[in-house]
């Protein structure tokens, strides 16, 4: 297979970024897009077919699909795509429950198809380079980590379904926090053993959390804290990962820079100049699209595996349980019933 034929299901904000990434990939061709909102199909590039139902797209002669639908539709669309023999790149989070996640993982395995959950942060250059610095021993042995995301979801940046449990399955933790859990697992090179947390909805009063904190205990004995908020009032986008080591610390200001403090002093590296935010996210999506494509062509498991992405969701679900019960929740085996 030299050129992968790809389709995109769901042509909203993220779906458009996926479509652009497929179009820009020199080893793939975007051939179809599906969206139930016909207005989102206007002006597709030449050679890209538009469908109002994803079932029609899946009947098309495609190798792979990006699925960019609200979370409550992930399992249904993914299982249908796998049943039709398509490799699947699914937007995070994989699901809002482990039962659906397992069904998708098992269906992909049974079919021998690639199933990948996009985790854009793994492809941002500032995070990759910061991770390489840590791996090279720049801050010594890791002692602890903090991560946070403060995001303004006011009048200007509201995908309404983000704040509705029936569509998103969860709130800020599942939508944004899942990236932070995933990157903490990546940076610490470890699985989460137990989670404690508190959730709030003081910004929007929705039926999902718009703010909260979680405390992650890793199997190695390390710990990390995550703080997140979907803020109603204007606030700059803050997404800072701080890793503290025995010989220094490293802070990644996502979509901006990283700062490294150690016995050599302070080192700051800026990765962006004046690119609009969607262009930065686009670069992450282009990275995951290429990883997905290459893993299919090379017959290998993509990085990170869908199981790993599921473990991040598993930690979020444990957090929800902790927030509801006030207890520390131990995380079990992913495949345990």
């Amino acid at each position: 297979m030299t050129e992968l034929r790809a389709g995109v299901i769901g042509h909203g904000y993220t779906g458009k970024l996926h479509a652009s990434a497929w179009l820009a990939n020199p080893h793939a061709a975007l051939t179809a897009v599906a969206d139930s909102d016909a207005s989102r199909l206007a002006g597709l590039p030449a050679g890209v077919r538009g469908y109002s139902a994803y079932e029609q797209l899946l009947a098309d002669d495609l190798d792979a699909v990006s699925i960019c639908l609200p979370t409550h539709l992930h399992a249904e669309a993914t299982l249908e795509a796998l049943a039709r023999g398509k490799h699947v790149l699914l937007e995070k989070p994989i699901a809002d429950n482990l039962r659906d996640a397992r069904r998708m993982l098992m269906a992909a395995k049974a079919k021998g198809l690639t199933f990948y959950v996009g985790m854009t942060h793994r492809f941002y250059p500032e995070l990759r380079e910061a991770k390489a610095q840590i791996d090279a021993g720049a801050i010594g042995e890791i002692v602890a980590a903090n991560d946070c995301v403060l995001e303004h979801l006011g009048f200007l940046n509201v995908p309404q379904w983000y704040l509705e449990k029936k569509f998103a399955g969860g709130g800020a933790a599942l939508t944004s926090g899942v990236h932070l859990v995933d990157r903490l697992r990546w940076f610490l090179g470890d699985d989460v053993r137990a989670v404690a947390g508190r959730a709030g909805n003081s910004y929007f009063g929705a039926d999902v959390e718009d703010s909260g904190q979680m405390f992650l205990y890793f199997r190695s004995g390390l710990s990390a804290q995550i703080t997140f908020a979907f803020m109603r009032e204007e606030h700059p986008l803050v997404c800072d990962l701080q890793v503290i080591g025995t010989r220094g610390s490293l802070t990644v200001h996502t979509w901006q820079s990283y700062e490294l403090w150690n016995n050599s002093g302070r080192q700051r590296k800026v990765f962006y100049t004046q690119e609009p935010h969607p262009a930065k996210v686009q670069a992450g999506i282009a990275g995951e699209v290429e990883e997905f494509r290459a893993s299919i062509v090379e017959g290998r498991t993509p990085w990170p595996s869908a199981e790993e992405s599921t473990r991040a969701v598993q930690a979020i679900l444990a957090y929800y349980e902790s927030a509801a019960t006030g207890r520390l929740i131990e995380i079990g085996d992913l495949h345990a019933v």
Partner: protein, 402 residues
């Protein structure tokens, strides 16, 4: 009665930050029916309060924000093309605007261009002392007018815009600020006006053809300016000295003739651009640099003559004081006669607009004068709360209940 038009100015970098589709959704939510988007712009240092990626933005100097068609650009100068031009922003904006029934205007800065001024210093404005103003091209040059025609033609060829906004289509002069400005001599309106007069070779040639002695006039201008510069008069240099300008025009027929010549040049150019624009309607700007909007003639733009060629003037009602804006509006309407040809443009940012009621009072007064078009500056500069004001002002303008 004509429908109320509510309009918003926006830059490509802010549209890309929001994504074109979300920007248009915001327009719909605010009741905006026309968006004016930058296709050619000057350099700057802009503070962007809502931008997630960059808070202090430096636009690429003098860049185009679209890739012009080579044939349409024939006769145009080598204007740089922004890296944003290849992002597809304009195509997405056009599609989304059509779906949402939002009209688009190409907001084009013409002769204020430091990149072109640096590349073509022989085409730039020169004052009476022969000093070149590298931020401004002089429209007396045929090559500069051809460039304007190419820009207008190229924008029209995109087939996206129903309007073209002509910004800095005249003679930009000393009034315009610059980086790290230093002066130890207080200059008033009259001195700034004199320092804004262009005496480049093309202007001198035009004077010669019209029987105006440019050499003597330039010498007289230099004499007046030198007298001020050597006066060591701390009490001078008040912007309120506008009557001195009127006195100069009455006392010096050659100066009045030069002013008339400049206005004729610009009027003829606008007439040419109205052909190049095809079906798109032209709009002109007043200037925020020359005091009252009616003073736009100081940059060579005749409110009356150009007013007859364009669909409307964007009257930059930026003065904070409500009474001053109302007075300027009435005077401008007296010059242009038709309130339908005035688009009241408010800057809703601080310190120009200190409260919502201040902006509302300006809108309400203009409504009573028959103005039906209101535009707001600017999508990227305003925080969310002030952006919401646009929706509230739109409801006032349309007479909708709150």
């Amino acid at each position: 009665m004509a429908a109320i038009s509510v309009e918003l100015f926006a830059y490509p970098w802010d549209i890309l930050e929001a994504t074109p589709e979300r920007f248009l959704d915001h327009c719909v939510a605010l009741g905006v029916t026309r968006a004016h988007v930058t296709v050619s712009y000057h350099s700057g240092k802009f503070l962007l309060p809502r931008n997630r990626s960059v808070r202090v933005y430096f636009p690429e100097p003098g860049a185009l924000y679209f890739q012009p068609d080579a044939a349409a650009w024939a006769g145009g100068l080598a204007q740089p093309v922004s890296r944003l031009a290849g992002s597809g922003w304009l195509e997405r904006l056009a599609r989304g605007a059509a779906e949402r029934s939002i009209e688009l205007s190409a907001w084009a800065v013409f002769f204020h261009n430091s990149a072109l001024g640096a590349a073509y210093p022989d085409l730039a404005v020169q004052n009476a002392f022969g000093d070149v103003y590298p931020f401004a091209l002089c429209p007396s040059h045929e090559a500069v007018r051809d460039h304007a025609a190419a820009l207008c033609r190229s924008v029209a060829a995109l087939g996206i815009f129903s309007g073209v906004d002509l910004e800095t289509i005249g003679y930009l002069g000393y009034f315009h600020g610059h980086h790290h400005e230093v002066t130890a001599i207080p200059l008033g309106m009259a001195e700034k006006f004199l320092l804004s007069l262009c005496f480049c070779p093309a202007c001198r040639a035009a004077c010669g053809s019209a029987g105006v002695d440019a050499e003597s006039l330039a010498a007289a201008v230099r004499g007046l300016l030198d007298r001020r510069m050597q006066s060591d008069d701390a009490s001078g240099g008040q912007d309120e000295e506008a009557e001195h300008v009127a006195t100069l025009l009455v006392a010096c027929p050659a100066l009045a003739a030069l002013i008339r010549l400049r206005m004729e040049t610009v009027t003829a150019l606008v007439k040419r651009l109205s052909v190049e624009a095809g079906s798109a309607k032209l709009a002109a700007f007043t200037s925020s640099f020359v005091g009252s909007p009616s003073n736009i003639w100081m940059e060579g733009v005749s409110p009356t003559d150009v007013g007859e060629l364009v669909e409307c003037f964007h009257l930059l009602a930026y003065a904070p004081d409500v009474a001053q804006v109302n007075s300027e509006l009435v005077f401008f309407l007296a010059l242009t006669s038709d309130p339908a040809r005035v688009n009241l443009t408010l800057n809703l940012g601080l310190p120009l607009t200190t409260s919502f009621s201040q902006a509302a009072a300006k809108v309400e007064y203009a409504l009573r004068q028959g103005v039906r078009r209101f535009s707001f500056f600017n999508y990227g500069f305003l925080g969310e709360a002030r952006l919401r004001w646009i929706g509230d002002l739109a409801r006032i303008a349309r007479g909708d209940s709150r």
